[in-house]
Assembly symmetry: C2
Homo-oligomer: 352 residues x 2
């Protein structure tokens, strides 16, 4: 299959979302988040999710005409009701609000409930960096990750993203799961019939296991990143997102395996910090140049060109994608073909 251009992939996403009743503006927002994520090479969180999202939009678990609204606010904070909109629609709405408030207040925290899976947390943190601010984005999700001493899942793989701008060295963008590994890696091992490394899974007695099939049977669960540390960070994220927004917590969050007509009530939180008030915007960006360039110049080990600033690899992939298109992995193309058929969208050439 040849590479698809960013604009072709974007047009396809707009088309299928429109066919599910999503407004042009909300479809543009959603397509931009998902296609940007694919252009970073983060295919697990990009347009592949159109499969799930379009099914939920058509079954009305997601509200195609949802309008996120400010429920309560102050100069430096707000609570947003997502109105069961697409997570990208609520996420972009809330992060823009945080950036706007931080521009005046120096710092702002916006929490969101009644939303859904919002794709890559790093997208929202990057929105702040693109405007010269520092951004943090977190979200909760249905429990799939064990805690030290548990016999089952305790919290979601609750992602954490942070971004900071520089003047000339690109933005730092960190986007991590608080699980030790992504569930997708376990599924790959199961498909190949291979065991997974020690430390990735615990079974329903809380004992380590290397059998990926137990994970598929909900008899084994992911471990948290770095043990109690990842569990603690996931609990922090649960509190900042669902806890501070009034949204669902832990097992009360809707599950992927529930019918697509079920409301999910995911929560998010977005923090924006305006370095301009602390130090002056250009002084801060210059300090970040020195910090990032200083790390890049440090001696690296054999076979490593330079020590990476988080997000550097994804930004290089994006430049490549904008110049030469995106090579969609086979699993993504397969999902997109189903989406075209299910939504009655003519099959685009790049999926032919």
């Amino acid at each position: 299959m040849k590479a698809v251009s960013v604009s072709e992939l974007n047009s396809f996403a707009l088309d299928v979302l429109g066919r599910c009743g999503v407004s042009r503006q909300d479809a543009e927002t959603t397509a931009e988040v998902l296609v940007t994520t694919d252009s970073w090479g983060v295919f697990t969180h990009g347009t592949k999710f159109l499969g799930d999202y379009t099914r939920r939009l058509r079954a009305k678990g997601l509200n195609p005409q949802g309008r996120p609204a400010i429920q309560k606010e102050g100069a430096a904070w707000a609570v947003v009701d997502g109105d069961r909109s697409l997570g990208m629609v609520t996420g972009v709405f809330a992060m823009k609000l945080a950036i706007e408030k931080a521009a005046a207040s120096g710092v702002a925290l916006v929490t969101v409930h009644n939303s859904y899976h919002f794709g890559a947390a790093g997208y929202y943190a990057s929105m702040a960096a693109a405007r010269g601010q520092i951004g943090v984005a977190v979200a909760n999700a249905i429990p799939s990750v064990s805690a030290p001493g548990s016999r089952g899942p305790v919290l979601g793989s609750n992602p954490f993203a942070f971004a900071a701008p520089s003047a000339h060295q690109g933005a730092m963008v960190l986007d991590i799961s608080t699980a030790a590994v992504a569930g997708g890696k376990i599924m790959v091992a199961a498909a190949k019939g291979e065991p997974v490394p020690e430390g990735w899974l615990v079974d329903n007695k809380g004992e380590p296991t290397s059998d990926p099939n137990l994970f598929l049977q909900l008899q084994a669960f992911l471990t948290p990143m770095a043990g109690h540390k990842g569990y603690g960070l996931a609990l922090m994220i649960e509190i900042l997102s669902g806890g501070l927004s009034g949204g669902a917590l832990r097992e009360k969050i809707g599950r992927f395996v529930d019918g697509p007509g079920t409301a999910a009530d995911y929560s998010h939180a977005f923090l924006a910090i305006n370095p301009g008030v602390f130090l002056g915007e250009s002084a801060f960006a210059g300090r970040m140049d020195d910090l990032f360039a200083g790390i890049r110049r440090l001696p690296s080990s054999r076979g490593v060109a330079n020590i990476k600033i988080p997000g550097e690899i994804e930004q290089a992939r994006r430049r490549e994608a904008l110049a030469s298109g995106i090579e969609l992995p086979a699993d993504v193309a397969e999902v997109l073909r189903s989406v075209a058929i299910e939504t009655g969208c003519p099959m685009p050439a790049f999926l032919g």
Copy 2:
């Protein structure tokens, strides 16, 4: 050695700090942080540090009469110049300021430069929880931790702490290093002549090593927690603390091995969030009760009484310490004896 009471240990700390020219009020602040930390059983970050602090106070690397001052501020933020005060004095000053601002603004971020090692980050986060708020505390330090692909240290073990209150279930207090393990564990292995587990250290070629002696010779360095994730979080902390305060970054921070007369310029950042504005304070605290109690009730694996909320073990140790005193480890007692001698303080009975 019999247990020392919290008040006896506190009196000793007050006495030695007073003998180094620290005011009664600042000595009380410092003693409270360090003795509370010991009462949690976190002896690596408690009164043991009086050895280093009193030497620096007497050599004037730390300013015994330092007065942290607000350099610049808004309703929801401030930059504090620590005036080379003890890290506990600047830390408590700045976290109090963040809590006060968040009470009115909903959220507040205070950054600090020109400070020093502030002990346990969890103390400052807990200050917010004790007042019904959410707290975050971070700090940078001289590089001692490698990054993926590095041949040497890139960032400090930059700690991260988060605390959230509940109505009846105690506070959650997470306090973690972004290094995989504490340097102290490497020193214990070296003293015993034992190798350390794979994954704790990399040598100056960036290759894994299990030889703890290389660490003592500055030929091997700690690994970040969870690889690129811990490195990314440490870089985030560097940015929030030193980056946003105008303080020293990375190798420009003063080193423990420099003479005690050298200024160190550590930086911190403190975030406070007032849940009252988001949801109403009692609604939030009740939600945290449900969240924490729900996790504690989950089935646990063999030999585990219940899944722990971060900070639970330390809070139980503190109740025990307040009732029955603190059993100081031998290494702490030895440091405190030296401190008594060096500062001309009569040897207290509990060190006899």
